[in-house]
């Protein structure tokens, strides 16, 4: 009886030791994967930042102004060119459509 308990305990120790080894190994693998994902996240964040900067560069008011003027031949309307429509007074839009 005592003998069998002894051997059972010995076997348990060995088995649990193997489990520890396995758990450590799994942890290492999982941690590596985790780190890789973290690196990926940081890279994506960095890229996002770069894209934001690019967007800001292309959409900065002076770039748009220049492109509108030079490439699309646009200009800001002069004071006399702007027709203001008072919807609160007119109420009906069709009055202005005919013009």
């Amino acid at each position: 009886m005592r003998d069998s308990l002894f051997w059972f305990l010995v076997a348990s120790v060995v088995v649990s030791a193997l489990f520890v080894v396995n758990a450590r190994h799994q942890h290492r693998i999982a941690y590596l994967a985790f780190q890789e994902e973290e690196v990926r996240r940081d890279d994506l964040n960095d890229e996002w930042g770069r894209l934001l900067i690019a967007q800001e560069l292309w959409s900065s008011p002076n770039v748009i102004e220049r492109d509108a003027r030079e490439r699309l031949s646009m200009r800001a309307p002069k004071k006399g060119d702007v027709e203001f429509v008072d919807l609160s007074k007119a109420g009906r839009e069709d009055k202005y459509v005919s013009r």
Binding site: R50, E56, G80, F84, V85
Partner: protein, 605 residues
């Protein structure tokens, strides 16, 4: 036979035994056994000693060699405008570092030719740097390289040369936002503006992990995570980048056109007190460190105080109307262009005679304003100015904010009382002036100003009654009419109100005859004010220096854009004023300006 055999056998056996028991001494065995035994015991003892007694020391030594705390740097948060547009972004860069002793060690083997050419330094320089810092293991050679350039350097595979990932701040709005956003130093610590004010929040916290490393530096095992990395938080400002850009462009153009020294502009949301734009000239590009001079960093809208001049007259009038002393159509005698108070002479730009209170604002009469002030006690004027926030800081979280000067006196000389009513004898900054005008625009309630979006409309403090501010707003509208001092401030299709100011500058304690501050303060649309705008242009050196000619056009352009961006509906449709009509009074103003006497000490328009 068998017996004989056995005897023989016996004999031979006894012969053998006799041979075996040749007395060989056994002490050698004992000695050897003892020595080995002692060595074994010694080793066991030593092992026990190391494991039990010396354990802590050895463990710490081992840890010191292989256990490392790995820092994970946080990325700095973004700064965004009220519409989410980024104003400051961190972008990854690589910094090249070396191990100096290694570089020196192998200096005969390597020419470092490619390395130095890629780094843009000479071999001698690299060597002197290594020599000087050889006690260290980590020395930066070149910081903040573009990742692809750093890759080229690392591809050379020079032992002792490594790179480290860092983040560099990039400011898309460049000089347009320089003063508000500020900048960081090379180590990503905020130095000016919001970068400094919110440094700790933007910065985040390092993540720290304890790791085991092998001889080459590879991480073998993660022992413990000491703290998780906390990336920096984003900071949102109340500024509208579109209005800011517009304001910057027009203010810059005005500074150039009028050869002014400095200038500043503040736009506030009239309903919430949020700062919509804050521009200061001269400016600087936060992306370009070579432009960094402290005189350029100054956010003049909060650091530079000046005498507000005639822009204070609306407050004098509002105060008098609240006190019930005058009504908009009450007549005051503005005399014949000059008047003596005590021994001092105060003047107007022209003879006005009897005028109404409205006309005091419309025509900007110093004498009229002084006479209105004289109907009340000097202390009342002082108290109203205190209530309007003059002489106090606005606590905008930006560094360097100045309080301005608003002196309380035991006794007020009549001339001090008179000049204070039209903006001399106190000093304010652009933000303070804008905030005071906000009280006029917001039905007489003064709101706190904020650089951050305000969710709920703050409870302000009432300074003037609603009826009074409505009347004053009408007077301010008259001031931008064709007969007023600043028709150039008008915005097409909107009702605009505002007041010009032209104050003599004080240099070394004396008013200068030929140095002015050109001001315009106002708001729009008058029917339900949405934007308060103050423009200050310091020392315009062209032929024009009057607020109505220098600052008012900037006001008009920026206000028009701001109202459009904020989707404010026009409240003056159909009342078109032709461009020709607008120009006539300007010519008149130039004539006035040229004939105006400049000999007088105190003057305001």
């Amino acid at each position: 036979m068998s017996r004989a055999n056995s005897i023989v056998q016996n004999e031979s056996a006894s012969n053998q035994v006799a041979e075996m028991i040749v007395p060989v001494s056994t002490w050698r065995y004992k000695v050897v056994g003892f020595i080995f035994g002692a060595m074994f015991v010694g080793l066991i003892g030593r092992a026990g000693y190391l494991q039990v007694v010396d354990r802590d020391y050895l463990q710490s030594q081992g840890n010191a060699r292989y256990l490392r705390v790995q820092n994970e740097p946080p990325t700095r948060g973004m700064i965004r405008d009220r519409n989410g547009q980024p104003l400051a972004i961190s972008t990854p860069v690589d910094s090249i570092w070396m191990n100096p002793s290694k570089i020196l060690e192998q200096k005969d083997e390597y020419s470092y030719k490619q390395l130095t050419s890629l780094l843009g330094i000479t071999r001698d320089k690299l060597m002197t740097l290594a020599e000087r810092r050889k006690a260290r293991e980590f020395v930066y050679i070149k910081r903040h390289l573009a990742p692809q350039d750093a890759k080229k350097i690392l591809a050379l595979n020079v032992p002792g040369i490594n790179s480290v990932r860092e983040y560099k701040r990039y400011y898309p709005a460049a000089q347009v936002m320089g003063h508000v956003v500020g900048f960081t130093n090379i180590d990503n610590e905020g130095q000016e503006g919001l970068e400094l004010a919110f440094n700790s929040a933007l910065k985040g916290r390092n993540g720290r992990t304890q790791v085991l490393r092998d001889r080459v530096g590879h991480v073998v095992e993660h022992v413990e995570q000491l703290s998780r990395v906390q990336h920096g938080a984003d900071v949102t400002v109340s500024i509208d980048a579109r209005i800011q850009y517009l304001a910057h462009r027009h203010l810059e153009a005005a500074v150039k056109k009028h050869k002014a020294k400095t200038a500043s502009l503040v736009a506030l949301d009239a309903e919430t007190g949020e700062v919509l734009a804050m521009v200061s000239m001269p400016d600087f590009n936060p992306n370009d460190r070579s432009e960094f001079k402290s005189s350029r960093f100054k956010n003049r809208s909060i650091t530079d105080s000046f005498e507000p001049g005639s822009t204070m007259k609306p407050f004098t009038v509002a105060m008098a109307m609240d006190a019930g002393v005058v009504k908009p159509d009450t007549l005051v005698d503005a005399e014949q262009g000059s008047m003596y108070i005590g021994g001092s002479r105060i003047t107007d730009t022209k003879k006005m005679g009897e005028i109404t209170i409205s006309e005091v604002i419309k025509k900007s009469s110093n004498i009229g304003s002084a006479k209105i002030a004289m109907m009340m006690k000097p202390r009342d004027l002082y108290k109203t100015y205190v209530d309007l926030g003059f002489g106090q800081k606005n606590k905008l979280t930006l560094k360097g904010e100045q309080r301005g000067i608003l002196a309380n006196r035991k006794s007020w000389r009549p001339i001090e009382h008179a000049t204070m009513s039209y903006g001399y004898g106190l000093s304010v900054n652009t933000l303070q002036l804008a905030r005071a005008y906000l009280a006029l625009a917001n039905d007489g309630v003064l709101l706190p100003v904020s650089l951050h979006p305000v969710k709920e409309k703050p409870k302000g403090e009432r300074v003037f009654s609603k009826a009074t501010t409505e009347e004053v707003a009408k007077m301010l509208e008259l001031a931008v009419s064709d007969q007023g001092t600043a028709p150039k401030a008008r915005v097409d299709q909107y009702r605009v109100g505002g007041k010009t100011g032209t104050a003599h500058k004080v240099i070394n304690g004396a008013y200068q005859d030929d140095a002015y501050m050109s001001l315009f303060a106002g708001f729009a649309p008058i029917s339900n004010p949405k934007v308060v705008l103050v423009v200050m242009i310091d020392d315009p050196r062209g032929i024009d220096y009057y607020g109505g000619l220098v600052a008012a056009p900037v006001f008009s352009e920026v206000m028009a854009g701001a109202l459009r961006y904020l989707h404010v509906a026009p409240d003056d449709i159909g009342n078109k004023r032709s461009v020709e009509q607008q120009q006539k009074p300007i010519e008149l103003m130039i004539k006035r300006a040229q004939t105006a006497s400049s000999e007088d000490r105190v003057e305001g328009v």
